[in-house]
Amino acid sequence: MRAALAGLLMLLCAAAAAQPLEHQVKAAFVFKFLSFVDWPAQSFAGLDAPLAIGVLGADELLAELNGIVQGRSAQNRPVSVRALREGEKPAGLHLIFVGRAAAAQIPRLAVLPGVLVVSESEGALEQGSMVNFVRVEGRVRFEVAPEQAERRGVRISSRMLAVAQHVKPGRL
């Protein structure tokens, strides 16, 4: 009975999200990245301090992500999402999504300690981004530069690397 009910629920959800848009997929991925990444403990104010996401130059995704994190947690912490203005000091953030429009900000942000930079621009990894969305055969995939993340104290799970489209080699 319960199994049947759960199946029915899943069926309904699946029907609703029949053809997800690109920003929706990316928002979902960003949220899921939280589960495969470890941040240094000192980057949190306390045990209950939230995982803070900043979104720069991607309003649609921001809106989507706000919807996703509502009432959900990652790594036993609440998740907060806020918009990041250009030139604003990105204090207290753990993950910064840099939209295509703000790609120029990547080098500046990629040096912040304890911050995972996720981008959606071609060649972004070369500019210091650590996770970068790409499109492959019409599907959203991503490439990873784990060594660059490590340099900022952020560790990306090998399981995430396994599903990455490309892993940028580096001295680890």
Binding site: A6, G7, L9, M10, A14, S35, R139
Partner: protein, 613 residues
């Protein structure tokens, strides 16, 4: 509970069945328990393995599911290729829809569930399956489904195979064990049964059950043997008792036949003699010969009947001795004298070694003479004509020892004891030449024993003669000395004699004899007539029968003693009953002496001699 026939009949089958059944039952119970435990454990292990595999798979497929990477998800499922038992596996997305499948071993994936189900394992159709959630950081990413062939059936078959082999082995062991058990348990019992069967079938009580064990069966064997032993003893006793009874019975039959024969034998010559006397009454020579024949034969008959009477007295325990002072030489002489005619007739030589005169002993002279005469008679009878007989009598070491030996037919060693048995005769063949009732030796031995002595026989064997020895303690007699009993003298004639007896033949013939001897004789046939005759006749000696009509002998004697005319007469009782009781009664009635029938002329002569003196 009724057992099947093959078990009821044989203990051996019972033991075998018991051992086999026990083994099988133990094996079956152990096997079932092991099987149950094994199946349970195996299933648990199988499910645990499946769970582990699903968990690993779930972990490996978390990222592919999270990031919707079908290729990487298929890679993750591909890990299952190392386990050939896995038939089918699948990943379902967070929405429950089939995401990736994995199939191996030519199994069709048609029955794969299209939607994820709640987590859990299921077992059906020899397959185990599991739905396992894929969770990453508390977020449900999807579901793993793995289905594998269960190895349980194979396992079960292998197990049953092992079980069959073990059962076979155990059965063989059980059979071997039952053979051994049978040797240990059944064999002694079977031995017992066999012994019992032999006893029953053959009535052979000498059979003994072999005792090979110290257990209950051994006790049983011992008890049975003890029973058999006592049974055997009892039966042997009973058999010998029956045998003895049969022997006595047979001897009695033989004795009766012999008796009839022996009593009949003298009658023929007597009749012949009578015929001769009637045919030629004037032929004096023939008359004398006839009388001699009659005399011999009648004596023979008297001796036979005397023996018979003695036998009857001995068997009823009524034989009594009349002990008195006896001169040994006189007794021996009289016996030698009596046997002399037979010795002469058979042409034997008789060597006698007589004791010196004057040796006296306290014995019954008649019985002592009877014993010696019997031995001498036997010697003469059982020695072929022309033999040699030796007699000796004397005192040795304070004991009377009398020997009679001959060189006659002898006695077989096994017969030495038997000849003293009543009615025994060494020679039972029809052709035997010797007569007799077969009571002489038995009688003699009893008489010697009554004197406190022994009579023994010895022989070197058949044809080598025999020797009989009488031993008797000498009991010194009173010095007074009665007159020698055996000194016959000429009968004095001219006495007045009264004979009273209801046996007319006896009394008439006796009267005739006494008249011929020169006496005056008066005969009466009853007591009253006897009394009146006595008053008138005044007899010097009266011979009175005891059992008579009208007045018995005791009464008559009392009357005669009471009357002055007859009080002085010598009264002699003549009776067929020689009991001590009668003797005492006779004395009380006034009799002077007592004669037992048949009365011999010699006895009367002796009495008359005493009267004369």
């Amino acid at each position: 509970m009724k057992l099947p026939a093959f078990l009821r009949r044989s203990l051996r089958n019972k033991v075998t069945a018991l051992v086999v059944a026990t083994t099988l039952a133990a094996l079956a119970i152990a096997a079932l328990a092991l099987l149950y435990n094994n199946i349970r454990e195996y299933r648990e292990t199988e499910l645990a393995q499946l769970r582990t595999q699903a968990a690993i798979l779930a972990r490996a497929s978390a990222a592919p599911l999270a990031f919707n990477d079908a290729k990487e998800a298929a890679n993750a499922l591909g890990i299952l290729g190392v386990n050939p038992a896995v038939e089918i596996a699948a990943l379902y997305g967070a929405d429950g829809r089939l995401f990736v499948t994995f199939v191996q071993g030519g199994v069709s994936g048609a029955d794969l569930p299209q939607l994820a189900r709640a987590a859990g394992t299921s077992v059906e159709d020899n397959r185990v399956a599991i739905f396992h959630p894929v969770v990453q950081d508390r977020q449900a990413l999807g579901t793993v489904y793995v289905r594998a062939r269960s190895g349980l059936t194979e396992r079960l078959l292998a197990y049953l195979g092992i079980l069959a082999a073990a059962t076979g082995g155990a059965l063989a062991a059980a059979l071997l064990l039952s053979v051994w058990l049978q040797r240990a348990v059944t064999a002694p019992l079977l031995g017992l049964a066999e012994a019992a069967r032999r006893v029953i079938d053959k009535r052979d009580f000498s059979v003994r059950a072999g005792k090979s064990t110290e257990d209950e069966i051994g006790v049983l064997a011992e008890a049975m043997n003890a029973m058999l032993a006592s049974l055997e003893r009892e039966i042997a006793e009973r058999t010998s008792a029956e045998e003895a009874l049969r022997t006595v019975d047979r001897r009695k039959d033989e004795f009766l036949a012999t008796l009839a024969h022996e009593l009949r034998n003298p009658l023929a010559p007597v009749r012949n003699a009578l015929y001769l006397m009637q045919a030629a009454p004037d032929d004096a020579a023939m008359g004398a010969e006839a009388r001699a024949i009659i005399d011999r034969q009648v004596r023979q008959m008297v001796r036979l009947v005397d023996d018979l009477l003695d036998v009857s007295r001995i068997t009823t325990g009524k034989l009594a001795l009349r002990r008195e002072s006896v001169e040994l030489r006189a007794v021996a002489s009289s016996a030698l004298e009596a046997v002399e005619p037979l010795v002469r007739q058979r042409g034997h030589t008789l060597a006698a070694d007589l004791p010196p005169p004057g040796i006296r002993l306290n014995a019954d002279p008649t019985r002592l003479a009877q014993v010696l005469l019997n031995l001498l008679n036997n010697a003469a009878k059982f020695t072929p004509p022309g033999g040699r007989i030796e007699f000796s009598a004397g005192i040795r070491d304070g004991e009377l020892v009398a020997r009679v030996s001959d060189n006659g037919i002898g006695i077989a060693p096994q017969m030495l004891a038997e000849i003293f048995e009543m009615f025994a005769q060494a020679d039972l063949s029809l052709e035997r030449t010797t007569g007799g009732l077969g009571v002489g030796l038995s009688l003699s031995r009893r008489l010697v024993e009554l004197h406190g002595g022994t009579l023994e026989a010895a022989s070197e064997g058949l044809g080598r003669g025999a020797r009989f020895v009488v031993r008797m303690p000498v009991v010194e007699a009173a010095a007074s000395g009665a007159p020698a009993s055996a000194s016959p003298a000429a009968a004095p004639g001219g006495r007045r004699l009264l004979l009273v007896d209801d046996n007319t033949d006896f009394v008439d013939s006796l009267a005739r004899v006494l008249q011929r001897m020169g006496h005056q004789v008066r005969v009466e046939y009853d007591g009253e007539a006897g009394l009146s005759a006595a008053r008138e006749f005044r007899p010097q000696v009266a011979f009175l029968d005891i059992g008579m009509p009208r007045m018995n002998g005791f009464e008559l004697a009392r009357r005669l003693r009471a009357e002055s005319g007859t009080a002085a007469a010598i009264l002699i009782a003549v009776t067929g009953w020689g009991q001590p009781h009668d003797r005492r009664q006779a004395k009380e009635a006034g009799f002077d002496d007592y004669l037992v029938k048949p009365v011999e002329i010699e006895q009367i002569e002796r009495v008359l001699q005493a009267v004369t003196r």
